[in-house]
């Protein structure tokens, strides 16, 4: 129980610092909206095309903006040796990983909640037909992204080129999860519920969530501490 309380403390610390400064949210949100707009005028898709690419477009936007969020995750603790203090504290690395994953998950989910209506407006798309299932898929996929992203944030926090290395290492691992999310989102945005044969993608998302959360919890201590 103490473990989860520690994780929650870390999560709440990150979220509170974010709410006060809003730097990550502002940066990633502006970035996401700009990309959405740019795709809209670059390709100017009609209704049929939009329905076909909706999933891919949205999840690419979330992946790019997500990289900004994850980068800040551990990097926000670098000034004033905060990270060293955290590592030296009795909070186990796994709790720190879980806490930061939860915080990143919350930030990314907020970003997605804002992006969906904007997508609907600028691309002229009704996306709320299967809202329940859509939110479910978004939650699953976002947690997977958060777990992987937080893990790689920990891995790259001490590197000179962390802004470059984090996306480069993170995206290949995210491809299966993104693929599943894209397949499901395209269907759901078009108004079709998840069919039986598409359930395999949901299972893939669940598998990714479980595996990478477990791996993260197990390995982050080694990355941070040695």
């Amino acid at each position: 129980m103490r473990f989860f309380r520690q994780a929650w403390t870390i999560a709440w610390k990150d979220l509170r610092s974010e709410i006060r400064s809003k730097e990550t949210l502002n940066a990633s949100l502006s970035f996401a909206i700009v990309i959405l707009l740019m795709f809209s005028f670059a390709f100017d898709p009609d209704a049929e095309q939009t329905r076909a690419i909706a999933g891919g477009l949205l999840w690419l936007v979330f992946a790019f903006a997500g990289a900004l969020v994850f980068n800040r995750s551990f990097a926000r603790d670098l000034p004033n040796d905060c990270l060293d203090a955290l590592i030296a504290s009795p909070v186990p690395g796994a709790a720190m990983f879980l806490g930061k994953s939860v915080a990143n998950f919350a930030l990314l989910f907020t970003l997605e909640l804002v992006c969906f209506p904007i997508f609907g407006i600028f691309y002229n798309v009704r996306w709320t037909d299967q809202l329940g299932q859509l939110i479910g898929v978004v939650l699953l996929a976002t947690w997977g992204m958060a777990a992987v992203g937080t893990m790689f944030s920990a891995l790259t926090v001490n590197l000179r080129l962390k802004e470059l290395m984090l996306p480069m290492l993170m995206y290949p691992i995210m491809i299966p999860g993104l693929l599943a999310a894209i397949q499901l989102t395209t269907d759901l945005v078009a108004g079709q519920p998840i069919s039986a044969e598409k359930m395999v993608w949901v299972q893939l998302l669940l598998g990714i969530d479980v595996i990478y959360t477990a791996l993260g919890v197990a390995l982050v201590e080694i990355v941070l501490l040695g």
């Binding site: 891995l155 480069m168 290492l169 691992i173 491809i175 299966p176 693929l179 791996l215 390995l219 040695g226």
Partner: protein, 229 residues
């Protein structure tokens, strides 16, 4: 002594490769529908096996390094990952050339191909990642974690043709299809021989690379000594 052993292994690998080229082009029977291009399988599949086996060894070496903290395991991990990359590249490139003829396209995003590409990109990223960290202990530790994180992708690559309906051909080699004979035994034997040849050649490359890694460590030590004087 070790040098001589390496040369001997290299020579054996070379002879085997020549023998295999003969077998692939002149001995193995024609395939029913594909024409000449199918013979590329005898390079494509063994290269994939080498890549995946090396990925597994990399993971084991990484875990062992994290437990034992002996830098020889770190050397093994980086050497075997680096040598695995050309073999993975051979697999991808020969596959694309085959696909251009048989499927009419260079690439499809089916499960097997996608995960193979992801795995290859991740191991390439592993090498670039290592370059970014100067301190040897931290470098070994963190890249070991990266290697462990990457290995699931390789497992999925291996199992992809069983778990999904892929455009990539399904399991035909007898040890994968449960002993069932789906491929001509002459072809299977050629496949096995080329796998052994490529594995031997790769092993020699790994040994050379590991020796270079220990030279690097000696260089680091000498540099520190030079600065100290």
């Amino acid at each position: 002594m070790r040098e001589k052993l390496l040369y001997a292994l290299g020579a054996v690998a070379g002879v085997l490769l020549v023998r295999n080229m003969h077998e692939i082009f002149l001995v193995v029977p024609d395939e029913a529908a594909q024409g000449y291009i199918y013979r590329i399988l005898f390079v494509h599949a063994p290269a994939a096996f080498v890549f995946m086996i090396f990925a597994f060894v990399s993971m084991v070496a990484s875990v062992t390094f994290l437990i034992r903290r002996n830098f020889n395991w770190d050397s093994l991990a980086v050497s075997i990952t680096e040598v695995a990359l050309p073999f993975g590249a051979i697999n991808l490139v020969t596959g694309m050339i085959w696909a251009r003829i048989i499927w009419g396209v260079w690439w499809v995003w089916d499960a097997r191909l996608t995960f193979m590409l992801i795995s290859w990109l991740m191991y390439a990223g592993y090498l670039i990642f290592r370059r970014a960290i100067d301190e040897p202990t931290q470098r070994g530790r963190v890249s070991a974690v990266l290697s462990i994180l990457t290995f699931p992708a390789v497992v999925v690559t291996w199992k992809a043709i069983e778990w999904w309906r892929t455009q990539h051909p399904g399991p035909v080699i007898s040890f994968r299809s449960g002993g069932e004979r789906r491929m001509d035994p002459g072809m299977e034997s050629a496949l096995l021989w080329n796998f052994i040849a490529l594995l031997l050649f790769a092993a020699v490359l790994v040994a050379i690379r590991m020796r270079q890694e220990s030279i690097r460590r000696e260089l680091d030590g000498l540099r520190r000594e030079a600065h100290a004087i």
